[in-house]
Amino acid sequence: MSDALCWQSAGTLAAAVRRGERSAVEVLEAHLDRARAVEPRLGAFVRLCEERARRAAEEIDRRVAGGEDPGPLAGVPLGVKDNLCVRGVETTAASRILSGYLPPYTATAVARLEAAGAVVLGKLNLDEFAMGSSTETSAYGPTRNPWDPERVPGGSSGGSAASVAAGEVPLSLGSDTGGSIRQPAALCGCVGVKPTYGLVSRYGLIAFASSLDQVGPLARTCADAALALDALVGPDPRDATSASPPWDPAARPFAAAVAAASLEGRTLGVVPEYLERTADPEVRTAVEKALGAAERAGARLREVSLRSADEAIPAYQIVSTAEASSNLARYDGVRFGRRCAAPKDLEDLYARTRGEGFGREVKRRIVLGTFVLSSGFYEAYYLRGQDARRRVRADLLAALDDVDALVGPTSPVPAFRLGERLDDPLAMYSVDVFSVSANLAGLPALSLPCGFTAAGLPVGLQLTGRPFADPDLLALGRGLEEALALPKRRPLP
């Protein structure tokens, strides 16, 4: 009974809570039970905030009892990636350097979902400062893939994907700098959306690479992701890079688009460069099967070439590490977070606080980013990286001229084994090969499940759209879900 609640959609749960058929507290307890049951095997959450969640759920129930409507996400349990600030709730970005940090404010994205009625269940694991593709660089240790606990959930939003896939929450927030929402969604078999850059406020998102970072939802269906997006998007006066979309966010365009979804007469651009670079034949087969289903549902497929495909990863490495090296300078032990014991002098304070506080991968990227910005190397690296970024964007926009979306695998491989790539950074970075372009170009992209490998590992399909075509992208995703009609499977019984 309570377990069944955990597999209901966010839309169904909210509708029941709004009608008073279920209490928000009952929904919350069911999900807490599920979390307690699977967490020892999964490790998706770095902390549950039960008390805070109960107070929020009770408040929602009071409002329903008083005849108020708590909003479209009434009582929906929400998992929040631990790089999004929640006032008074420890937020660490899975780094030792922020251990004990209690933010004095709440991220706009979290605040908007809470204002729509969502109940924050806890904070979710990630690669330290969102730097990684496996959630193995977390100071809390790895999260495991719910479909095979010996494998990674992907990353960096591994906790966000695993928790949703495992039925701990129907909805979570992640952040995506080079694929960090979509790749774990693909590896865990759920839906993950990286909106157009600027569509969702970054205020309160602990920055990794400011010009690439974007907050987005993970859910089990496109409809649930759309429900969250309607609450999330829109300009924020606290984020100067947040954008006003060319449609009215208040009109709930995502729900409308998903409700009217159809593949009939839509054109999908198939990128041969992506299929060629798909290392795993089972991933390629699953994607090709999905394309066939889309065609049968009335979609047209058109081959579109992306000549910039090989430039994306190097451009991403340069831009993201450069920005990260600067963004992470504030962790100096002076004002918040962890400070080394008994520093001798200022130099020692910096060196030991940062030396002890950051993990290997974070240090690797800070050093790389510092290097590419250094006098004498700036032109050869940073400026060339920016040039490549412009080419990738122009190339993608041109490719999107004649199609509604680009389609291909989200990740070249399904979930890999824990530790398999941890000591081989280039192998780790290569799993972002299809996802980084959308970040470089600021375009919306989503991943949705399109099948399973023989070993039962999920495969994700990625759709990339034009700037601000986010609602339409969700509609295409919903159309594909219908066309694919994947059998419902549940991990971690």
Partner: protein
Amino acid sequence: MSARAQILGRYELVVGMEVHAQLATQSKLFCGCAVGFGGPPNTRTCPVCLGHPGTLPVLNAEAFAMVHRIALAFGADVRDATEFDRKNYFYPDLPKGYQISQLHHNVGGGDGREGGRLQLLRSGKFVRMHNVHLEEDAGKLLHLGDGGSVVDLNRAGTPLAEIVTYPDLRSVEEVDDFMDTLTEVLLALEVCRCRMQEGNLRFEASVSVRPRGAEFLGPRTEIKNLNSYAAVRRAVAYEFARQVALLEAGASPRQETRLWDPEEAVPYEQGVPPARRADPALLASLLPEVEGGWRGRTQFMRAKEDAHDYRYFPEPDLPPYAVAPEQLDAWRTSLPELPGARRARYAEELGLPQKAAEALTRERGLAAVFEQLLALEVPAAAAANYVLNPLQAALKERGLSPAESPVSPERLAELHSLIEEDNGLSRDLVFKQVWPRVLDEGLSPREAVAKYGIEGASSDAVVAATDAAWAENPRAVRDLLAGKKKAAGAIVGAVMKRLRGQADPRAIHARIAELLAQTRGED
């Protein structure tokens, strides 16, 4: 010529200035915290200016407008879109580990663009501006006696206009002229409070020396920690002497950063190898002579090779800020008349003496009162006189600014009418008897006259008294007839004495003229 003048005369001082002006905005550059001075530490702070994880900057439109007004006042080429850069370095007073500044996208000038110029008030010389840009201030790191340090971030995020000149200044006097001129311009623009003691305005001097007549620029030293106008003047004079002393000894100055050490707290040339130290005796002989002996020196801080690599790159948290041409025009046309232009206009068009023109434009707000008097049709010379003499004296006595004056320009104009009208009230009488009541009792001049029944001598009384004085001073009359106009003074004095100072001198002079004409006619 003294030996000092002889040696220094062989060299030319070359100075460029870098100025940080705190903009007089309500709130900080990227958050809503109030801008201010003093107060308990870390009370004007918020998550944004403390650099908390996840926070983002939001540009203050007021600061953006102010820095544009500065650039436009110099006549700089102003960009149609402004972008920000990050300047990366670690220091405890810098919360984010980087400062949001501008390197390649200065609001005005820079990158080969025209930076405009500033005409110095005293010398009339033009100083070319390199660029004007917008950036955030850092907090303050305070070192405690016990070896510990504490940081106050109240100042962190205060908007700063950084103003950089070309090395166009050639003497300490010109440096001083520049500082005064810039201060007046910033005050006229109402963009900076310019209180150096509160750190509103901070100068750094870039000093080099070359043989007189040379075209090249010598290696420059940048001097920091200059917290008063006097400190700048002294530091530049010292640095000139130090570099000349090096050159005289066959050594060469190096590009480095130095700190002004007014109390000579640090031993002479600490951290500098003996071979690169100027001979102290020679250096001392080249310093300006000051009463009580010279004090203060520049102290080595770091060499060029040890300069920071700031790893500038475009600030990704702020989009480019476009400035519409209409906005730019609006800012340009709303620029106030700057002190230099105003001073020239007062002297040339209104015919005021240079001293009066300077005095009117030096203190903020005085010129506004003067302009209002002109608008009320008070002639320029009289208006300048009212503003600079009775009004300014009264304000000084009460410690008020012109804007806080207890006497409105309308009342000053009424005072002028009272003096001009043929009512028997002399100027002296008006200032002795009417003015104090206008000042202290808040009466209008005419109300004061009515309330206290102030009257001058009637014209009949003046005629009678003048006729009597004429008769009693034959020598003065003789002199007058001989064309010695000054002789009238004796008669006027006698009339005044007789009428206890209540007569209008103009009426006396008029009667004397009549008497003169009559006497001549009789001859």
